[in-house]
């Protein structure tokens, strides 16, 4: 391959990754600027003077630990719930035949494309009727039926050789034991990575928790962040950026820890 051609492709990727990274760099940098610095030289990458004042102010203004615990609890609840329903449904879809299976599957997939704005009101009304407002359970409940999760688990199960499940069938192993003793151990890396993805997404979730969690004591990080951001870009911009930086710490950590699994599972092979 001529050298010049490779460079062109390389350039494209560099450009895109720059587009992806710049906002993050920008955020971290501004979280270390004073309000004045930020106002004058918002787009300057290196702060002219590094200050921790924003983080200190935050610590005074909000119960950071409570908020982090709320976020963590909600994300854990959602993750466990989605893993359980997703795993069981995917297994049922994969290894059982029953009437209407194809239709049921079509319904599941089609719901992926129903915009959240459209279903949030009905869901809100239900959660409010059963008195789960302001609870993590209220946030988690409607997410238990999650078609994306089912499909992620389905594609993990696709990699299990048919002969293996047929051996289970020939040996007359009951379905729940087969799932527990053979299928789950085999797709353990996928479960970990899908779980990590669930957790991070739930951690970052904003629109739906806004509806359910009205009480300041039940706020999660993205909700608290919203208090510092007006539509026009925030009254105290560096303060918002400091809270943003705190918000992405946990996802980043989880990503780094489970990186191997996540990479494998997301692009299941990807590059050599």
């Amino acid at each position: 391959m001529p050298k010049s051609k490779i460079s062109a492709w390389h350039l494209l990727l560099m450009l895109l990754s720059l587009m992806l990274l710049l906002p993050v760099v920008f955020m971290i940098s501004n979280s270390f600027k004073t309000l004045q610095d930020s106002y004058h030289s918002m787009l300057q990458i290196m702060p002219s003077r590094i200050t921790l004042v924003n983080y200190q102010t935050l610590a005074k203004q909000v119960h950071l630990l409570t908020i982090i615990w709320n976020t963590f609890f909600m994300a854990t609840l959602v993750t466990l719930g989605k893993i359980i329903t997703g795993l069981l449904s995917a297994y049922a879809f994969k290894y059982f035949s029953f009437t209407g299976k194809k239709w049921l599957y079509l319904i599941f997939v089609s719901t992926i494309f129903v915009p959240f704005t459209v279903v949030m009101i009905p869901n809100y009304l239900v959660i409010s009727k059963i008195n789960l407002l302001n609870t993590a359970f209220g946030v988690a409940l409607p997410q238990l039926a999650d078609a994306t999760g089912i499909m992620l688990f389905l594609s993990a199960m696709d990699k299990i050789p048919v002969s293996l499940t047929e051996t289970l069938q020939v040996d007359r192993i009951p379905a729940h034991k087969a799932l527990r003793d053979v299928i789950m151990p085999i797709i353990r890396p996928s479960i970990i990575s899908i779980g990590a993805i669930f957790f991070i997404n739930s951690w970052n979730e904003y629109v739906w928790p806004t509806l359910i969690l009205k009480d300041k004591n039940s706020f999660t990080l993205p909700l608290a962040l919203q208090n510092y951001i007006s539509n026009e870009g925030g009254t105290n911009f560096p303060l918002a950026m400091a809270l943003s930086t705190i918000t992405i710490m946990v996802p980043l950590l989880i990503y780094l820890v489970f990186q191997r699994y996540i990479l494998n599972s997301i692009s299941s092979s990807g590059l050599k």
Binding site: S163, E166, D171, I173, P174, K177, V182, P185
Partner: protein, 366 residues
């Protein structure tokens, strides 16, 4: 071998969408028999095995195992062992756990499990590997574990789907011998699917040759080789392939390239054929090549090509009419372009009807 039937298929038909894969199949397999299903890829042999195992459902017909219809729920769980091409060992369990798992689930008491496992591990030389995971085993060891999984269940029917195809060519002979010796010791009923005729010939009590969802012939290896029912069977079995020549019957005599081939008149008289075209089948090892004609039917040929396989040599011979025939010999002394004579061994000549492709002289008693 007892005459009780372990497996019985009555008019079984299996279709995938509109394609008929198994067509009105009838088959009886005796208890303790080693039956090999042999055929080209796509002939339906694997589907048949899967039907017997209950992994596919027949569209019509019935399948009886030890006299019981497999559609009944009562049908005994531990009857079967199935060995897949990839062995299908549980990758997260050690060899010991792989063998133990089904017994544990079906609540065989612990002491009983241990006794059975130790016996089988010993028999298959797997004791040293019992704590290894399948990923740490060679192909041959995996195959033994897969067999062992059936043996600890005390299965009396083993279904094997090309169990040697994932083993290195050089080790297949040994792996084959292990299957054979398991059968010799414990007399399970074995149904063995393969596309490899050497495997089939060396393992099977009987071989069922399949094509297009139909059993063409089911018989002992010897009869299949020497007394094939039709041209398909004759051409499918044997390496190098049988020579198929176009001959003619004139006045009750078989002519090929102007030579009258079969001296034995009584054999021809029995057929009652006076004239018409036929196919003549003659295996390469039944063509003798010599410098001088051996009898009146020796055909003058030219050596066109010689391939030396070490143990034997294959001669490509061109007849005056341009036709090519293959002969094998174990001590070839000819070179390319030699003018020699080919003599077809009279008694080994097979005659096939040109329309039906049936062996004209085929008889069950033969």
């Amino acid at each position: 071998m007892s005459a009780r039937q372990a497996i019985q298929l009555n008019n079984v038909t299996k279709k995938f969408k509109k394609t008929t894969v198994i067509d009105e199949m009838n088959l009886q397999i005796n208890e303790g028999e080693f039956l090999v299903l042999l055929g080209p890829s796509g002939c339906g042999k694997s589907t048949m095995l899967r039907l017997i195992a209950g992994l596919e459902k027949a569209n019509s017909g019935e399948i009886l195992i030890n006299g019981q219809d497999i559609k009944q729920d009562s049908y005994f769980a531990n009857n079967f062992a199935m060995v897949f091409q990839d062995y299908a060992l549980y990758p997260n369990m050690t060899v010991y756990q792989n063998l133990e798992y089904a017994l544990k689930v079906h609540k065989v008491p612990k002491r009983e499990r241990q006794t059975r496992l130790n016996k089988v591990l010993n028999m298959l030389n797997l004791t040293a590997y019992q704590d290894r995971l399948p990923g740490q085993l060679s192909g041959g060891q995996k195959q033994r574990v897969a067999l062992g999984r059936g043996m600890v269940k005390k299965s009396n029917i083993f279904l094997l789907d090309e169990p040697l195809s994932n083993i290195d060519v050089q080790l297949r002979e040994k792996a084959r011998d292990e299957i054979k010796s398991m059968h010799d010791t414990s007399h399970q009923t074995i149904v063995y699917v393969t596309h490899d005729q050497l495997e089939a010939m060396s393992l099977g009590d009987r071989i069922a040759i399949m094509n297009n969802g139909v059993i063409q012939m089911i018989d002992t290896p010897n009869n299949i080789y020497n007394n094939p029912i039709n041209l398909f069977v004759a051409e499918f079995v044997g390496v190098p392939q049988i020579n198929t020549l176009t001959g003619e019957i004139i006045d009750g005599q078989v002519y090929f390239a102007g030579y009258s081939l079969i001296a034995d008149y009584s054999r021809l008289n029995k057929l009652g054929l006076i004239s018409g075209n036929i196919y003549i089948g003659i295996r390469p090892e039944n063509i003798h090549v010599s410098e001088q004609p051996q009898n009146a039917a020796s055909i003058p040929v030219i050596v066109d090509k010689i391939v030396d396989y070490g143990r034997y040599q294959e001669l490509m011979l061109i007849i005056a009419n341009g036709q090519l025939i293959k002969a094998t010999t174990t001590n070839n002394q000819f070179v390319i372009e030699d003018n020699v004579y080919a003599t077809l061994v009279d008694k080994k000549i097979l005659l096939f009807n040109q329309q039906t492709k049936q062996n004209i002289e085929y008889s069950l008693e033969n």
